[in-house]
Amino acid sequence: MEIYLPIAGMSINFFLVIGIGGLVGFLSGLFGVGGGFLLTPLMMMIGIPPAVAAASDSNQIVAAASSGAFAHWRLGNVDFKMGLVILAGGITGGTIGVQLVKVLRAVGNFEFVMKVVYVLMLGLVGGAMFIESLRTIRRSKSSGGAAAATAGEPKLARLFTKMPLKMHFHRSGLHTSAIFPFSIGTLVGVMAALLGVGGGFIMVPAMIYIIGMPTIAAIGTDLFQIVLTSANVTLQQAFVNKTVDLLLALLLLGGSTIGAQFGAMAGKRLKGEQIRILLAIIVLALTVKIFLDLVITPSDLVSLAPAKGGGH
């Protein structure tokens, strides 16, 4: 069954789009990542113009994340205060990041820089997460489980409890400096703009390993702030680039909102370290793929360049 997408200007298989949406939605609910880092490349793979893919993905992420955030909020996993502090940082960082992208574009080869940053970032995050969760699983096996569930407070987090502007984050059970989550938000905001993704896959590990939040609270809180950031991006894309394909977004969110619910449920049944090792595997697989893109001889040396003002 084919359906014509008005803004993308192409027809596409209905079930293919719903299926991709469902898969990404499931991962989004499970890991608390927006899924943008998977969805944009997948959309481009099936022939959607990059600018339309990126803008419409932001739109559907609003839906997937609000569905996921709602589910996590009911389960009591959202730390609103932490979310707002991170969001403030994220908006600051995003603004800086967009300017940085402009400069890089002018210099040339933005795409190459983006891919190299991707490989380094994802490789680092994925690798660290993989090793850590493997260690946790081994430890919990040898010591019989429950005792090793809390991995212990990270050293960096302890340092930050000594900084000024202290705030109490009730849900996360943290009493720490607000400077810290704010700067994490800023850093991730820059990254997100640079890589053209929501940034959940950097944010969640950062919240767990650097801020020291419990895994499940990190996921819930991240989803909450993703709703607001992606809504902002959707509006910007609609105003400036006019590349939001509402029909495409609706199809994607039809699949993804349902997928996200199943993801959140699956997340409840899995242990924190199991979720982390799964996310690590996906991130590492993506790293390898992008790295291969950089070194394998492309089948077509000449390709269509992304349209002006497209993407992020």
Partner: protein, 265 residues
């Protein structure tokens, strides 16, 4: 009103005539009577390309027939050329291509080079060589190399052929000429072909000389929801953006509520 329009049209044509002064003037030839199975393609929700049948009468029995499909609009395309830098493949230069047709399809009753001379083909823009002559390359970034023009052109044709926007079929089975007089064939408008006006031009050649010319215009337009979405997103972006966000949030929360009622928690 109508008379003025005709006058303006005639003047316009006159100007064109004076400006280009083509050696081979298609409009001056005997008219090839043609008919299309339809002249309007509506792009609705289930549009996935369309096929239009064309019929025509050869003014000179036994003449060779060449039919060309082009779009009225031309587009400026940016193409990236990758090259090796150390172990990595990266974009080393970019070209802007202008004057390349958005769509370019040709059907002929026998190989084009057996029908017309290269000069005539060039004049009437028949064949890839002619397309290439008309196309202009603009280096935007990087260093030019002597074989760039060739590489970029081949790359562009490949991209277009993959999208079924360019092709040349020189096959009497594809373009049948019954008894040397009545010809029939069809053009497939791929899903990538979007709104606009498309020209189907029929040329008849006898011994390399143009002896007949006919033209059909196919209009393609979005209808219903497709039309509304396109218009709103382009003309009322603020309303459209807010609508998109509200719908997305609503759908997300709705699914959340439905799942709660399902009693999984």
């Amino acid at each position: 009103m109508r008379r003025t329009a005709i006058l303006i049209l005639a003047l316009g044509l006159g100007c064109l005539w004076a400006a280009e002064a083509p050696a081979v003037a298609p409009e001056a030839q005997q008219k090839v009577v043609t008919a299309a199975s339809k002249n309007l393609i509506e792009i609705g929700l289930s549009y996935h390309g369309d096929r239009i049948y064309f019929f025509g009468v050869n003014p000179v029995p036994g003449a060779d027939v060449v039919v060309k499909l082009t779009a009225e609009k031309e587009e400026a395309i940016k193409l990236s050329v990758k090259g090796r830098v150390g172990p990595f493949w990266m974009t080393v230069k970019q070209y802007e291509v202008t004057g390349a047709p958005f769509i370019y399809k040709i059907h002929t009753s026998k190989p084009l080079d057996q029908i017309v001379s290269p000069e005539t083909a060039q004049e009437l823009e028949l064949g890839y060589v002619a397309v290439r002559q008309k196309m202009k390359l603009h280096l935007i970034r990087g260093d030019a190399a002597p074989d760039d023009a060739d590489k970029v052109f081949k790359g562009l044709v490949k991209i277009k052929e993959q999208a079924n926007l360019y092709n040349i079929v020189e096959d009497p089975k594809r373009l049948e000429v019954a008894e040397g007089q009545l010809f029939k064939h069809y053009f497939r408008f791929p899903a990538a072909a979007t709104e606009g006006r498309y020209l189907v031009e029929s040329y008849c050649f006898k011994d390399g000389q143009l002896v007949g010319y006919g033209k059909d215009v196919i209009q393609m337009q979005k209808v219903g929801l497709e039309h509304w979405l396109t218009q709103t997103s382009q003309n009322q972006p603020v309303f459209f953006g807010i609508l998109a966000v509200v719908i997305a949030m609503g759908a997300g929360l709705l699914v959340g509520v439905i799942f709660r009622k399902g009693g999984h928690h």
